[in-house]
Amino acid sequence: MLSRLVIVSANALKGSSPLGAGLVQVSRCLHASPQSLSPVAPLPEKGGKVRHGIIPEELFQLLYPKTGVTGPYMLGTGLILYMLSKEIYVINHETFAAASIGAVIIYGIKKFGPSVAAFADKLNEDKVAKAQEVKDSAMTSLTQAIEDEKKEQWRVEGRSMLFDAKRNNVAMLLETNYRERIHMVTNEVKKRLDYQVALQDLQRRMAQEHMVNWVEKNVVSSITPQQEKESIAKCITDLKALAKTTQAKVAV
């Protein structure tokens, strides 16, 4: 039980950081070669077994084949009696003091041992939990970073499509611009050609009209009054003839 407080104080001594637990573990392999990179083995759960608090279990295991279960107790009793009878252990005032102190200590341990042990265990667990938390948060952040990286890679794949779309856009803009200009050019050229055509038409028309007018004028001026009277008389006779033929037709 006190060993747990030793561990707790050792942890506190080695700096109360989440790495304190790891540092205590590192101190275990001081005698290993400094180049070993294998992970440190976890601390054993329980220490070597000790009976009645002071006698290691190995003694009992040693004597068990020969003397059974009561062997070491017999040995202990015999030793104590021997030491008392030969006064190798002398009973004096210190014996009484030791007995009282021993009684108090044993009573205290029996009564408060488990609660102190639980307290020290809780302290250790808190440290381990903190370290575990650091490790877990590091793991989650790293996995998150991995996922983000994968997403970025996926995005990079799409970048070529983005460029294609942009290239298409630019090509379309150029195309429309080109077509607009072609349109404008054709319009302008057409306008100029139409102008020329209209000009020529006008010229021809004017020449025609002028010629017609001139011919008319000449003809009219060439018709003498005599010819006019003759043509009128001929017209009248033609008309009369026509009238006669039509009247004949109607009558028939």
Partner: protein, 89 residues
């Protein structure tokens, strides 16, 4: 399990036979470095077995205290001898 003959000096104490005890003792390293390393090894063994565990008990520290009590009684024995109740045992 006798793969090869291990030289006596490297055997652990429990594997040494009684007849070889003298030569084993003579082959131990008694230089200061050797003594210090032996003490270090012993300390590490005891520490890692009884104290550097997750749920240690009272035994780890209690055994040290009892050993200390025994040692101090032994060193004071010449003085305690005078408190004996009988002269002849």
């Amino acid at each position: 399990m006798a793969d090869r003959l291990v030289p006596i000096a490297e055997k652990r104490l429990m594997d040494v036979k009684l007849g070889e005890l003298g030569s084993w003792l003579g082959a131990r390293d008694f230089t200061p470095n050797g003594i210090i390393s032996a003490v270090r090894r012993g300390h590490d063994r005891y520490y890692n077995k009884y104290i550097n565990v997750k749920k240690g008990g009272i035994g780890g520290v209690a055994m040290l205290l009892v050993g200390y009590m025994a040692m101090s009684y032994l060193w004071e024995y010449d003085h305690i001898k005078h408190d004996r109740w009988r002269k002849y045992h």
